[in-house]
């Protein structure tokens, strides 16, 4: 591919004591694509996601964003680059409403002096939240009931909407449908496509092969802390993916 | 008249209902409240029955509107703290007098000996409009203004046990002469120690007029009559037996010559005895103040050798007497000092000591 990568990881190493989670792992994301990151348990997916999200620093290796080398010391630095992450546990505040969650840490203050005192512009945040839900087709009607009162699918939608609202470039989703039923999963996958259609790249971690095949543009396979294969989704099938994941077939790294 | 009867009945019923609800909330412990509800009934009913017989004080009653059916004087006793045997005994004496003089006596108090807890209770009592208040002020200054408010509301105030910086607002103040009590303790302890060794005072907390006086009296008594006894100091237990025990353990470690301790109140003496027992010493004498069941037990066990016993029953009795005198236009005695009894294992069951021991209920 001749296109400039959005995010490029090269030779990432991360050890936890004696556990070698990543052993020189590469990864590529191109602008505006949905790339699935797959791999068996212990392949290093979650660790790699945390490094890209700025939650943990790598022991070794480089990250490039728009071709430029970057270091991500904490999540806010990743956010400043336009990278948002939807964690498996969603990281929502259950007692707060969707609008409060969507704008958490990025609250809109009232204009003028009163805003300088820290007063929230709840009306503006609620309106923008409802607009974001509508825009993404998220099945959340109320922006004002506590998140704890909502279904798992609605919560997932709120988390995804939050990420999509603030990510200019890249949304990372760790197992977004793992806890959801069929109908809700379908809605979230649809939401992912709409995020991509807005020009934002998406990394999705998933164990669900049909889901990967249905939503992604490309697939990258990790195994034992390394990237072992890259596929264009349209040109592959489940058998090939599973073979790569289990090590039955090794593909030379294209990067 | 009918109207007032009905209201009194309604009141009684509602009070009983609340007590019931409270009891139901309190883990369905229904039994203890029944006598209380009944008591309330007895206390209120006769008032209504006797209504027609107007007595001279009825005029005074009219000053307090919507307080119908009050024939007998209402007197409220506010002890320094609830659940303390000294104050319970005072209550017993007051009840005895109330029965004798035909007045209603109510007891209200706070669970902590502190003006922060006592003042709200006092204010509510004032609002309930009794004819007289017997109170053991928990602070010499902080209670001044609230008690002035009581006087301004036409309530007679009698100070019992403790007092105020300016007691002139009260019609009478009745207390043990604690200075004397302290010096009696010094004499008792000096005798036990054979006039030599070191002595310690475990007091409650500074700033309480009564216990401060006991400590002072003890120190004076020691200086005057027991020149060969070394005074090692006064420590404060904060009214916690455990604290008193710790203090005694520590001082015993530091002062091997320690042979005598004066515990200036119930918990201080109790804790001091515990501390001595913990250290396994049998050559240290303890003189306590007051005679609650726990101390009498310790006296019997030989852990405490003498008790300076106040006469709280007498204080309570005389308190009510003075209140009634004030209400009926009699002549008050402004300052009344009540006496002491010294209890030892030998005289504990004698007729001139036994009636003065404190009670946990009347």
């Amino acid at each position: 591919m001749a296109q400039q990568t959005l995010l490029q990881a090269r030779g990432i190493v991360k050890n936890f004591g004696h556990v070698r989670a990543l052993r020189g792992c590469d990864f590529d994301v191109y602008p505006g694509e949905v790339v699935a990151m797959i791999g068996d348990n212990g392949a290093g997916k979650s660790t790699l996601v945390k490094i890209v999200a700025g939650v943990q620093p790598p022991d070794n290796g480089e990250l490039y964003f728009d071709g430029e080398p970057v270091t991500l010391a904490d999540p806010t630095e990743a956010q400043a680059l336009g990278i948002e992450t939807v964690y498996q546990d969603l990281a929502l505040a259950p007692d707060l409403d969707p609008a409060a969650n969507l704008f958490l840490g990025r609250e809109v203050l009232k204009p003028g002096l009163i805003g300088k005192l820290g007063f929230l512009d709840t009306k503006a945040m609620t309106a923008k939240t409802l607009a974001a839900f509508k825009n993404l087709g998220a099945g959340v009607q109320s922006a004002t009931a506590p998140v704890a009162t909502m279904s798992g699918g609605q919560r997932q939608s709120i988390a995804v909407s939050r990420a999509a609202t603030w990510a200019d470039r890249l949304v990372i989703m760790d197992e977004p449908t793992a806890a959801l039923g069929v109908v809700q999963s379908r809605a979230v996958l649809e939401l992912i496509r709409r995020v991509r259609d807005q020009g934002i790249a998406v990394i999705i971690i998933s164990h669900n092969m049909p889901e990967v095949l249905s939503v992604s543009d490309r697939v990258e396979v990790l195994r034992l802390g390394r990237r072992v294969a890259q596929f264009v989704t349209a040109d592959t099938d489940m058998e090939a993916l599973v073979a790569a994941m289990t090590g039955a077939r090794v593909q030379e790294d294209a990067g | 008249m009918k109207h007032t009867r009905r209201r009194t009945r309604t009141l009684v019923a509602l009070v009983a209902a609340i007590a019931m609800i409270a009891a139901a909330c309190g883990d369905d412990n229904g039994d203890p409240d029944e006598p209380e509800a009944a008591e309330e009934e007895v206390a209120e009913e006769p008032e209504a029955e006797e209504e027609p017989a107007d007595e001279p004080d009825a005029e005074e009653e009219t000053e307090e509107p919507a307080e119908p059916g009050d024939e007998m004087f209402d007197i409220t006793l506010i002890p320094g703290v609830t659940g303390d045997e000294f104050y319970v005994s005072m209550e017993c004496g007051a009840l005895e007098a109330a029965e004798e003089f035909g007045v209603n006596l109510d007891v209200q108090g706070a669970p902590q000996f502190s003006p922060t807890d006592q003042i709200p209770v006092l204010e509510a009592v004032i609002a309930s409009g009794p004819d007289a208040i017997l109170i053991a002020p928990t602070d010499v200054d902080a209670l001044q203004a609230p008690l002035q408010a009581a006087v301004d509301a036409g309530i007679e105030v009698v100070l019992v046990d403790t007092t105020l910086s300016d007691p002139s607002l009260a019609v009478s103040q009745i207390a043990s002469d604690n200075l004397l009590g302290g010096s009696l303790a010094a004499d008792a302890l000096g005798e036990l120690m054979g006039g030599e060794g070191a002595a310690l005072v475990v007091n409650v907390t500074p700033g309480i007029s009564t216990t401060d006086a006991r400590g002072e009296g003890f120190i004076q008594g020691l200086e005057e009559n027991w020149p060969d006894i070394e005074f090692v100091g006064q420590e404060y237990s904060d009214n916690e037996p455990a604290r008193a025990a710790e203090i005694v353990s520590a001082v015993l470690a530091a002062e091997p010559e320690l042979r005598g301790i004066f515990g200036a109140n119930l918990f201080s003496a109790e804790g001091a005895a515990t501390g001595i027992r913990q250290e396994g010493r049998d050559d240290v004498f303890v003189v306590g103040f007051d005679a609650g069941p726990a101390q009498i037990e310790q006296l019997r066990e030989g852990i405490v050798q003498a008790l300076i016993v106040q006469q709280p029953l007498d204080i309570g009795y005389q308190g009510v007497e003075q209140a009634v005198l004030a209400l009926t236009g009699g002549e008050n005695t402004f300052e009344i000092g009540t006496g002491f009894v010294i209890a030892t294992i030998d005289n504990l069951d004698d007729d001139d000591v036994a009636p003065f021991l404190y009670r946990s209920d009347c």
């Binding site: 904490d74 999540p75 806010t76 956010q79 990281a91 929502l92 505040a93 259950p94 007692d95 707060l96 409403d97 609008a99 409060a100 958490l104 840490g105 609250e107 820290g118 709840t122 409802l130 109320s142 004002t144 009931a145 506590p146 704890a148 009162t149 909502m150 279904s151 | 009141l11 509602l14 009070v15 609340i18 007590a19 409270a22 909330c25 309190g26 209380e36 309330e40 307090e64 919507a66 307080e67 209200q108 669970p111 902590q112 502190s114 003006p115 922060t116 003042i119 709200p120 209770v121 204010e123 509510a124 009592v125 609002a127 309930s128 200054d141 902080a142 203004a145 500074p206 700033g207 404060y236």
Partner: protein, 351 residues
């Protein structure tokens, strides 16, 4: 969906978002509020007042008595404001009463140094010293919680004992009585327009200000977000440690204010009188519907929660009920309030 119990944060938004579609009937509004535990305890307080008023209208429902109830509640109310924020973050502050005493002690010492303990200069110095002392200990609590990473219960249990001990060291355990008349005659026993005590006004103004802060500002939002899910707050980039430090410092500052109020009211430092302030303030906050697990807190609830025990005590004394029943009743109310909160939560999280 059944009744959604609404938290502090969403009530104002609800009218914006949903009011337009279907204007709720007055009845629905009422039932919604009744499902809310804050409303439940408010109704309970009104019921208490009603019962006492019916039983003893001459004694209970008088201006003077209600004023006394308000005064009795005022100092605890100020402590409970800070406690509401702390519990809102899923923390706890056991040390409020000790910080109050310490602030009062150092303020009294300072006032004795200035103008011989009399005059407005003395008052000014005393107030400043009290706030500084309270704020200082609050900050110490906050630093121990955030930097040393100790549990708030342990930290404030430590300062509860330690700070009170220091106060006693400074005074030899004797209550200090240096309080300028200027302070006693204004804040202590003075009344605005001869009717409303300044103690009560101060407490209510602080309650209103911090109620607004809790509900309408970013400070309040962060407080509840941290209490609701601290990790989530960290991940969106909120400086959780800094915010917790501010919250514990606020609790200390308010204890400093309460320390001055206490001096003004009791004209001495009442060292022995605040051992249970912590439990009383925690009970008031929890009765008021603030969740011990954090994330849900309302200042109005705390206001009601402070007044319930105070009113009960006053009413019981006036009705001449044995004093111990008041403790039983407050305990029962506390358990009932937490039970209602649990029920509400269970219903809400059913989905």
């Amino acid at each position: 969906m059944t009744q959604i119990p609404e938290t502090d944060l969403d009530t104002n938004g609800a009218t914006d978002a949903e009011g337009a579609q279907a204007p709720p009937s007055a009845l629905k509004w009422l039932t919604d509020r009744l499902a809310d535990s804050t409303a439940f305890i408010f109704v309970a307080l009104l019921a208490m007042i009603l019962v006492f008023t019916v039983l003893r209208p001459d004694a209970f429902a008088t201006v003077n008595n209600l004023r006394n109830i308000a005064i009795a509640a005022s100092i605890l109310l100020v402590l409970s404001i800070g406690q509401t924020f702390v519990i809102g973050t899923a923390g706890i502050d056991i040390s409020v009463g000790s910080m109050l005493v310490f602030s009062g002690v150092v303020a009294s010492l300072a006032m004795a140094e200035v103008g011989g303990g009399q005059g407005w200069a003395s008052v000014g110095v005393g107030v400043a010293v009290s706030l500084l002392a309270g704020g200082f200990w609050g900050m110490v609590n906050g630093l121990l919680v955030t930097k040393v990473k100790l549990p708030p219960l342990i930290v404030t249990l430590g300062t509860f004992g330690g700070v009170l001990g220091l106060a006693k060291v400074l005074t030899g355990g004797i209550n200090l009585r240096t309080v300028p008349n200027e302070l006693v005659n204004t804040l202590g026993i003075g009344r605005a327009f001869g009717v409303v005590p300044w103690l009560v006004i101060l407490a209510l103004v602080l309650t209103a200000i911090f109620g607004v802060v809790l509900r309408y500002t970013r400070f309040g939002r962060y407080t509840l977000a941290i209490g609701s899910n601290e990790e989530a707050a960290r991940r969106v980039g909120i400086d959780v440690d800094l915010h917790l430090l501010k919250v514990y410092t606020l609790s200390g500052l308010l204890a400093g204010v309460a320390g001055i109020m206490n001096l003004a009211r009791f004209t001495n430092t009442t060292i022995q009188g605040h051992d249970t302030d912590n439990l009383q303030s925690i009970a008031a906050v929890v009765i008021g519907g603030t969740s011990l697990f954090g994330g849900i807190a309302t200042m109005f609830g705390t206001l009601v929660g402070v007044f319930i025990p105070t009113t009960l005590q006053n009413g019981f004394v006036i009705l001449r009920i044995q004093p111990f029943w008041q403790e039983v009743a407050v305990g029962a109310v506390l358990i009932l309030a937490v039970y209602v909160d649990q029920l509400k939560r269970r219903a809400r999280n059913r989905l």
